[in-house]
């Protein structure tokens, strides 16, 4: 019977700690020598591929600088996407202009791709008066409605069900849009994955479920998260088509995500995509991964760096040079440096903003609390 054979296949699997094993039988496009496999190549315009490369490098450079900034105590926290840039940028690029993105918390690269000015993102990192989130949330809890991009919240998984509801609403309104939701493989264990997938399947919502399988949920390895060999298999429980792709291969991610977007836009409903990648950094600046994982594993994945991979591909096309690369990084550095200077010089949000936006209209009791706060003494510096 269908189910039983499946289960056997799963029990046959030996977990995915060995990356080779995990990528077995998964569509890649960019080959070891940097050339694109003609059988798989989505044949994107070179300009788009270049644009993706630039965005990935930009994301990488910003990530690295922000970690330094945190170490220097100039920002409180950063959670980045080191090694996951292909998943994030290519899947964002695959969305159409009218489509909406519901982020997890590693997708600032997608937000910048969607057009948020770097200054606004950096203001969020400082939680200053110009932060679109008004300094109310931790760094990297950005909000990007003008860019058809959601509002980050920490509780794992909640964005998935909301992305399904948003897409469902659009479908009811015959509005041609697709939503995507980003989440890590650990989040597949959450209540939200279950309800999001089930509702998406039952109501055939135009939603692309983007699972970044980066091997770790903080210190918990992906094989401790589920007894299945893959996370894509979970689509079966919901009647939702599911595929895996090489998450460090920009062209493979774009091709897979684009197909899912078109499938959804054509009324086919949701797709679950498991993007096989790796979290090269700690979980966040609060985490030291040496406490729980071996260096070899990291080394292995460093070699599979999606940026090196794409760069090699561009080289085979003669579309990148060291000078260009150096300039690109220098430009991002300069741009970022300028933004940081502005952000650091920007004051913190006005005290009164503490009481805004709880409701559309401020109720009397909040007006009283605001007055009490504004007229009251200020905290000592040492706090």
């Amino acid at each position: 019977m269908q189910v039983e054979t499946n289960v056997k296949a799963i029990h046959g699997g030996a977990g995915i700690r060995t990356p080779e094993r995990s990528l077995e039988g998964i569509a890649s496009v960019i080959r070891a020598d940097g050339t694109a496999d003609p059988a798989q190549d989505p044949r994107l315009p070179l300009a788009l591929v270049k644009k993706l490369y630039v965005a990935m490098v930009r994301t990488r450079v910003i990530d690295e600088r922000l970690v330094t900034l945190q170490r220097q105590g100039r920002i409180g926290f950063h959670i980045g996407s080191l090694g996951e840039e292909a998943c994030i940028l290519a899947s964002a690029a695959a969305m159409r202009d009218q489509d909406w993105i519901f982020p997890c918390y590693r997708e600032f690269g997608a937000l910048l791709w969607r057009g948020m000015p770097l200054q606004a993102y950096v203001d969020n990192m400082f939680g200053n008066a110009n932060d679109p989130a008004k300094g109310r949330q931790m760094p990297d809890h950005y909000t990007g409605k003008p860019y058809k991009f959601g509002s980050v919240s920490s509780p794992i998984g909640t964005q998935m069900t909301q992305a399904v509801g948003f897409a469902w609403a659009a479908k009811l309104k015959k509005d041609d849009l697709v939503t995507s939701a980003y989440f890590g493989e650990g989040a597949t264990s959450s209540n939200e994955f279950h309800t999001a997938m089930n509702f998406a399947g039952v109501f055939k919502t135009p939603t692309v479920m983007l699972c970044r399988n980066n091997g770790w949920a903080i210190s918990v390895p992906s094989e401790k998260q589920t007894a299945t060999r893959t996370f894509a298999e979970k689509g079966v429980a919901y009647g939702v088509p599911a595929v895996r792709c090489d998450g460090n291969d920009v062209l493979a991610v774009y091709k897979t995500a684009r197909a899912a977007v078109e499938f959804a836009a054509a009324g086919g409903g949701p797709t679950l995509i498991e993007m096989m990648t790796y979290r090269l950094s700690g979980h966040s600046t609060s985490d030291d991964p040496r406490a729980y994982r071996v260096e070899d594993e990291v080394t292995h994945w460093r070699k599979a760096d999606p940026i090196l991979r794409l760069r090699k591909h561009l080289e085979t096309l003669g579309a990148i040079s060291d000078e260009e690369d150096a300039k690109l990084r220098a430009d991002v550095d300069a741009e970022l440096k300028a933004c940081i200077e502005v952000a650091e010089a920007t004051p913190r949000p006005a005290l009164s903003t503490l009481f805004d936006d709880v409701f559309a209209e401020k109720p009397k009791y909040l007006i009283e609390q605001e007055r009490e706060c504004l007229e009251g003494p200020r905290p000592q510096a040492h706090h």
Binding site: K134, T143, S153, F166, A169, A360
Partner: protein, 325 residues
């Protein structure tokens, strides 16, 4: 004007608003063809179809999480939770997401939705078909909480709630779903989510109540008036949060005495907040200790339900004691 019970009045409000505003959708378990286990959504499925009156899988978290997504898109979802006791699988989406969306996004995103759910005891529902969890939501910044006691208010408050720009918990006192009848205007009308109502005037003691317990409070007020000549002023909150504190304080300043009645367990119930606010605003006017008549601090029982609930037999002595203190 036609006489309606609360079920009919709520149904009428939903129907009118769905005709007026095609952004309004109803979703939940069994809300479709069968019209809900209390028949509150009866007939809506036939009139508006399964695109706007939607039977969902059995997952409250999915109902609310999806409704939030719909609200972000621009719809006005009115999800139903079959019993307030079953709202907890959706608790994270309500308190971590719906309540905080406007604030955490710097005002970019809003989450207008009305979560309808039957609340309270009186139908021999035992532990899990009787609870009154309002204080959990009142404690959560960013939520409005409504609990009407009669058909007229139910309709007017629900229309306001659906038109409100923020998430509203709309608790429907199931004990009086059919028992509470009254004249209800045919067309639309709204009652602001900010005004309590003095339903009985009196000078000796103020009684604050809402939902099904309002009728017990009123019965006690009549009883002590007849038996002891004590005149209780009874206030129906209608909207629990934001609280119409002015109306309460104005009354307490006159009576100097106050009794709050609610079904939820005493400890950390809404009564504690109301009484503390009163002592903050009118301490020097208090001539007797503020009193709570509430459910006991136990799970909600089945056989001994009427001994658990703060019914007339428990309110009356509290009124007399407080008035005579």
């Amino acid at each position: 004007m036609t006489e309606m019970n609360m079920v009919q009045a709520i149904n009428d409000a939903l129907r009118l608003e769905m005709r007026r505003d095609d952004r309004v959708v109803v979703l939940g378990e069994d809300v479709g063809k069968v019209g809900g286990v209390f028949r509150v959504t009866q007939g809506l499925y036939d009139e508006f179809g399964d695109d706007r009156v939607i039977d969902t899988p059995l997952a409250e978290g999915g109902i609310i999480g999806a409704a939030i997504g719909m609200a972000l898109y621009g719809l006005r979802p009115v999800p139903e939770i079959q019993f307030a006791d079953f709202i907890f699988p959706a608790f994270d989406q309500i308190v971590s997401e719906a309540a905080k969306y406007r604030y955490r996004s710097g005002g970019e995103y809003t989450c207008p939705m009305v979560i309808r759910t039957p609340v309270g005891g009186g139908i021999r529902g035992g532990h899990y078909h009787s609870q009154s969890p309002e204080s959990l939501f009142i404690h959560t910044a960013g939520l409005k909480v409504v609990c009407p006691s009669n058909p007229y208010d139910a309709k007017g408050l629900l229309l306001s709630a659906i038109r409100d720009e923020d998430p509203v918990l709309f608790f429907e006192p199931k004990r009086v779903y059919r028992a509470a009848k009254g004249e209800v205007p045919e067309g639309e009308y709204t009652i602001p989510l900010s005004e309590a109502k003095v339903v009985r005037e009196g000078k000796h003691v103020t009684v604050v109540a809402w939902g099904a317990m309002l009728y017990e409070a009123l019965a006690s007020a009549e009883e002590v008036s007849a038996r002891e000549g004590i005149e209780a002023e009874v206030i129906d909150l209608r909207t629990l949060w934001p609280l119409d504190l002015d109306t309460i304080v104005e009354s307490v300043k006159r009576t100097g005495r106050v009794v709050v009645v609610h079904e939820a367990p005493k400890t950390c119930g809404f009564g504690a907040e109301i009484l503390t606010l009163i002592s903050e605003k009118a301490f020097l006017h208090l001539e007797a200790p503020p009193v709570r008549v509430t459910g006991w601090d136990t799970p909600f029982p089945y056989t001994l339900e009427t001994d658990y609930l703060p019914l007339q037999h428990r309110i009356t002595p509290a009124l007399i004691e407080t008035a005579k203190f």
